[in-house]
Amino acid sequence: MTGLRPGFRSLLGPLVLRPAAKDRLRFLLTISGIAVGVATIAAIRLANASVLSSFSDTVDFVAGKAGVTILADGPGIPEETLQRLAWVRRVGATLAPAITETAAAGAADGEVVEVLGIDPLADTAAREYSFAEEKKEEKIFLEGEEGEGHARAANLSSIFERDSVLVTSVFAKRNSLRPGSPLHLVANGIERTFRVAGVLHPVGAARAASGSILFMDLAAAQEAFGKVGRLDRIDVVLPPGLSEDDRARFEEEIRASLPPGTTAGRPERRTETVDRLVRAFRVNLSALGLIALLVGMYFVYNTLSISVLRRRTDIGTVRALGASKRSVFTVFLAEGLALGVFGSAAGVGLGVALAKGALLLVGGTATELYIPSAHPSLHLDPLVLLFAFALGVATSVLSALAPALEAARVDPAATMRHGSVEAVRRRRTRPLALTGVVLLALAFALALPGPVRGLPLFGFLSVFLIVSGVSLLAPAAVTFAAARLDGPALRLFGVEARLARANLTGSLSRTSVAVAALTMALAMMVSVAVMVGSFRTTVAIWVSQTLASDLFLSAASGKSGASFGRIPDEAIAVVRDVDGVDEVDPFLAFGATRDGVPFTIGSGLFAFIAKHGNLPLVDGRDTRKVFTEALGKDEAMISEPYAEKFRVKTGDFVELPTDKGPARVRVAGIYTDYSNDRGTVTLDRAHFQRLWPLTGAVTVAVKLKDGVSPEEGARRVSAALQGRYALRVRTNATLRRLVLRIFDRTFAVTYALEAVALAVAVLGVLNTLTALVLERRREIGLLRVLGASAARVKRAVQYEAAAIGGLGVVMGVLSGGAMSLVLVHVINRQSFGWTIAMHAPWGFLAAALGLVLLATLAAASRPAGLAASTDVAAALKEE
């Protein structure tokens, strides 16, 4: 094997490079196929990583030097906790308590900002602050001081005044603020005016939320945001030089001093929580990206197989001249590698370009769903790029394995003709199909088990096996269809159909690959479309059932699509007294965690729901009866995602974190809820308020008296609130539209991905047909000799494209249907906990499939034209 390298080098030219140069178009197509797959993966991962890193940056910047962060499971940490923790100071630790809040700056629809309420005296130990404008020290304790060198602490202390805020220079610039400028903040439905006391350099905590953060005094924040008596977090700065063991012990001791419903841990765990929140979303997207790459893999396989087929004689010749099997194998593997490297490089570049758009989609969705104030900016993580590149190269090399092996097996005295090779392939059709059937059976079995650590891994595997199984069935399907449809097609479409049919089965290895690639992409499109369509219809029906009230109020939440803040009780009272308002149902909720997994604890008026019966139950029981009973017995209702996520059934008990320790509440029933995938435990308002000292409402549903139109009601409510409270007032119809708009935006990413995969698959058809036409030049010449016109030759190629497209569509619809079942009943259910009724979007599917057929035919026009322009006399001379 010492001659491997020179042998390899001498083979590279004749077997790979020169043919590649001759077939530039096909190689470019292959490279672009890989590029698209790699680009998709890179773009999604980049966007996802950017969203997460922007959040984790915020977490890091806010946590500062804290070694342990204390957070509440429920609605805030009782402030007495600071006394319980006083002992930590004796060992040199510092406690930095803080209030965190989200507000709209400027106006009710202004920029969304994070607000951090801090104790300036303690906070410098935890977080770094640097003032953009050194101003004369403010007198906080001593008069007559010059105060050089003390500007930092003193300036921070300037927020002791209750209307003072510090803003970041980024935010100040964006909103033209200077020290002394007034700043309006809208939070919890109330607008307050603050004064800018100072501007911070973008260092330390001022870098959080990309600068959309402002700082005020702890006391002012408690008062402004209705959090008197509570803290949102306590950052503990540990004494320096603590060993890891000491740190852990310290953390444990801190935990022991905490009241119930409060947790302590490393600050990073916040990021882990968010990562968990967006994980299901990211995994779903990545899975789609992988399918795109799978299509790319088929490209490589296809191109290389053709390379090997076309150069069989050459391979035989070089083998006869003494080239080793291994050299031949290596040469073709190298071709796969080269395709992978070029394609992946192009893909990474394209991915970076796409990431910006993907970020808007992923970022928008993540923001909408989970983090209202995130302003993710694109972060080009080299590791992500490297990963996508490596994935592309690895899959290319993997797809090159089979063709390379085949090349190595070529007999030195190879005079085998194409047809006989195809005959071998045809004999493999049956075992391949059998394997496919086994994979499909396995896919069915894998759809049955539950999730793995909250992720539907088996579900994804099942979808993957469906895709693989159906692809393996492609040759059998092509053969079967050709045999069954030859007669009718001949009668219907004439001899061109016979030609197309003959080519389909004659070049089975290539045509079936094209069919398989198209099937995959279509299956993906169909399944996602059916899933999204079913989901949308289900949500739309649910919304129309549950949104029974006329008006819906929420606290003004700035530019964010999400809703934050609470409507104060006084505002609810104002609304209740508006002429024409019949009833109000305040919904109050906060985020909690169970075993580190976030969920929501909510409350409404059970009497209201019992009266109107507008919340369907999963088991179909009578809502009125169940809610009446739950009200009487102080029981909880849980949402379906909660039941799924935590495996809780009716009759079970759930533990809810309160200051006085966990409250055990029996579950009276499970209701359907598509508004929140975290899962919700809902209590009656009175019961809820006995457990937690929370007032106000997140949303208020308003029933109007008969004869008052929603528009008129909205007008009256808005007029009553005018100047006092900043609330969003939406009518039933606008809210419904909004829900569906948010839904559509959420799934915009999936549509974009589908389009990409389809484009790849259609390109695949073009690629395959081009190859076939080039390969069949002599046969085409012969057809012309036999008197077939150029137009008929062209039509034959188009029929072939149509047959590939048609087969792809049929198989795609079948396997897509199967995949949509898995998506809806396994993946979606395990990821989000939603039960979705199947509603196929027939119109969309028909249009999309028609479009794909047209696109395939359009893609075929180039190879068809190529076929028609074949020089007959020259073609006949070949060989």
């Binding site: 195809e422 007669g487 001949l490 016979r498 002599r778 057809l783 012309r784 000799v785 008197g787």
Partner: protein, 232 residues
């Protein structure tokens, strides 16, 4: 009745850099230099000459696969140069059939389908085409091989299929380009026997290009060709 073919000062030259791209021909070289020839209906003419003498070029011109650069070719009084693309296609379908050295069957079709193809191309009903193809295959001695694919047949069998296919549309002119070139001499003889039997029966005019004197012996007339010119 066979076709009457008249070649009148036919010449073909391949322009520099353009045209056929045939490596054996230098740029601007005359492949045929003013050939005049008349083939009587039902005659069997052998074009004898070495490789590159212009035999194939002449056959391509007679088969309307190519156009002469000078002179005229009349088939049954029709000047091939006056035919439009559609008429040329029809001419190849109905009038001039070709058989090749390498058989040139469509590898993706079985024997029956290969033979039925010209019929279907000419608009025959599928059932009718199949029936006629089957009878033609029987006629060339391949009964029972209808479903066989070309790679399952021997060289001689393939050439028989090619002959059956050539006769499918009842042509009046058969152009054979080295039909025995790829066959051993025994099989070659059998094929030639078959061809001459079939054409005589049908009165088809035959032009056969060959470099083999033995094969040309079967023709009623031998025309020698060298460097694009007829030898006297």
């Amino acid at each position: 009745m066979g076709a009457r073919v008249t070649a009148d000062s036919v010449s073909k030259s391949y322009g520099g850099g353009g045209g056929g791209g045939d490596e054996s021909r230098a740029a601007g070289v005359d492949a045929l230099a003013g050939i005049s020839l008349t083939l009587e209906p039902g005659s069997f003419t052998a074009l004898l000459g070495p490789s590159g003498c212009g035999k194939s070029t002449l056959l391509n011109l007679l088969g309307a696969l190519d156009r002469p650069t000078g002179g005229r070719i009349l088939v049954d009084g029709r000047d091939l140069a006056t035919l439009g693309e559609d008429e040329r296609d029809a001419y190849r379908r109905k009038t001039a059939a070709t058989i090749f050295q390498f058989f040139n069957l469509l590898p993706t079709m079985n024997a029956l389908e290969n033979v039925a193809l010209p019929l279907l191309l000419d608009g025959a009903a599928p059932a009718e085409a199949d029936a006629r193809a089957a009878s033609l295959l029987a006629e060339v001695g391949l009964h029972g091989k209808e479903r066989a694919y070309p790679y399952e047949l021997s060289g001689g069998q393939m050439q028989r299929v090619a002959v059956a296919r050539a006769l499918a549309n009842r042509p009046t002119l058969l152009l054979a380009d080295e039909p025995t070139g790829n066959l051993d001499s025994k099989t070659g003889t059998q094929v030639l026997d078959l061809v001459s039997g079939l054409v005589q029966e049908r009165g088809i005019t035959v032009v056969m290009a060959t470099h083999s004197v033995e094969a040309s012996a079967r023709a009623s007339r031998v025309v020698r060709l060298l460097d694009g010119q007829l030898l006297p």
